[in-house]
């Protein structure tokens, strides 16, 4: 019995080493599967397409047709706050969406896992216009609801933020960013004067 078991062990070990040697010969650095995911889309293109929070805000504001925004965080988190026009959704709902593979779908969650998995689920079912909100709900809050204005896009961002009831912030004379909901502290007269001179 013991000898027979030893023989089985040796056979399995030999099979493992042969398969491993063949793997070393055949192995590629990134063994992406040859599995085609409908319409000839290969697995190696299976990286979630993302959309920035500001772009999503612009789409919603423009009333983009056939846009659906899906919140994957669960009912309680959705009830606290969510992206305007977003619908609470779960994975079961994706099946219905996938059958209606038209329109643009934006998915978001509060981690980098659920939205990416949901995106992959939709993409695998042939949905071609699905996006993951880059940075999730946190990015929406930081970039749209409480953005820090700077650069040439400040006016555009401020307008978008106010459209969604946000409170855009600007840096004070010291370069500090006020906390959300707090007005920037008045800068000392001298520094303000210098700022004005630079502005002139």
């Amino acid at each position: 019995m013991s000898t027979r078991r030893f023989g089985v062990h040796r056979a399995l070990a030999a099979a493992a080493i042969v398969l491993a040697m063949l793997a070393a010969i055949a192995g590629a650095r990134t063994p992406l599967a040859a599995v085609a995911i409908g319409d000839g889309v290969r697995a190696d293109t299976f990286v979630a397409r993302t959309v920035d929070a500001l772009q999503l805000a612009a789409w919603i504001r423009e009333g983009a047709r056939d846009l659906r925004v899906l919140d994957l965080r669960g009912d309680s988190a959705y009830a606290v706050h969510h992206v305007p026009s977003a619908e609470g959704a779960d994975f079961a709902r994706l099946d219905t969406l996938a059958r209606r593979a038209d329109g643009t779908v934006v998915l978001y969650s509060d981690d980098d896992v659920h939205d990416a998995q949901a995106w992959a689920n939709l993409a695998a079912r042939g949905h071609r216009n699905a996006y993951v909100l880059n940075g999730g709900i946190d990015a929406w809050m930081a970039e749209v609801i409480e953005p820090v204005l700077h650069g040439d896009s400040a006016d555009h961002v401020a307008a978008l933020s106010r459209y969604f009831g946000g409170a855009p912030r600007t840096t004070d004379a010291r370069g500090n960013v006020p906390k959300p909901g707090v007005e920037p502290a008045a800068a000392p007269a001298g520094e303000l004067g210098e700022t004005r001179r630079r502005g002139c």
Binding site: A13, A16, I17, L19, A20, M21, A23, A24, I25, A26, G27, A28, R29, T30, P31, L32, A33, A34, V35, A43, D44, F46, F91, A92, D95, V113, Q117, A120, N121, A124, R125
Partner: protein, 201 residues
């Protein structure tokens, strides 16, 4: 690592759960048949008298590695769609130490404690209850330690990228190391058995 998405696509969410339950049952059965439902068996690992745990776990790693690699090569499994958990260096190092200490104290790990509990062993029920309580306590305390929990993020790391090896080469190295480990484990066990016989125990 969780199952590739096509499983949930083909079977639906409920179907995927049913499949996962079935896989879990098979895994538990294999653990029990390998004797890993016994804390004594696991403690043999630490006393170097019974290295079954090492052999079972390395066998599982080798089987999974070879299986996934070749299934992906023939187009059945898409490795790019297998979720690889992210690496958080310090939190996982600390978690590993806590896990190891708990395993040495209890003689069981979460999977084997479930197996032990399923076979009616009191220690298994105690350990399973303990780790469920620990999971609950950790979940409740998570907001307080969120900063530590998310520190040292390195993204999804795999051995082939860390070691800058081709996947096939890495598999050969791991399989060779496992087989060498099995041979050493057999020698260690035989030496321990001889020593026990000599001491008359």
């Amino acid at each position: 690592m969780s199952a590739p998405l096509p499983l949930s696509l083909a079977a639906g969410s409920t179907g995927a759960l049913v499949v996962a339950f079935g896989v879990g049952l098979c895994f538990g059965w294999c653990l029990e048949r390998a004797g890993l439902g016994s804390a004594t068996k696991l403690m043999g690992q630490f006393h170097l008298t019974d290295l079954t745990v090492f052999k079972v776990m390395f066998s599982a790693i080798v089987t999974a590695m070879l299986g996934l690699f070749w299934l992906s090569r023939v187009g059945v499994v898409d490795l790019s769609r297998v979720y690889v958990p992210e690496t958080f260096v310090l939190p996982q190092l600390v978690g590993g130490l806590v896990f190891g200490a708990g395993m040495a104290l209890a003689g069981l790990c979460p999977g084997t404690s479930c197996v032990a509990a399923a076979t009616g062993r009191g220690d298994g029920i105690a350990v399973a209850g303990g780790f469920f309580a620990g999971v609950l306590a950790t979940g409740l305390a998570l907001p307080a330690m969120a900063r530590f929990y998310e520190s040292g993020a390195r993204g999804s790391l795999t051995l082939d990228t860390v070691l800058d090896l081709e996947l096939g080469t890495l598999i050969l190295v791991v399989v060779a190391a496992a087989l060498a480990g099995f041979i050493v484990a057999e020698h260690v066990e035989q030496r321990s058995a001889r020593r026990l016989e000599e001491t008359g125990r």
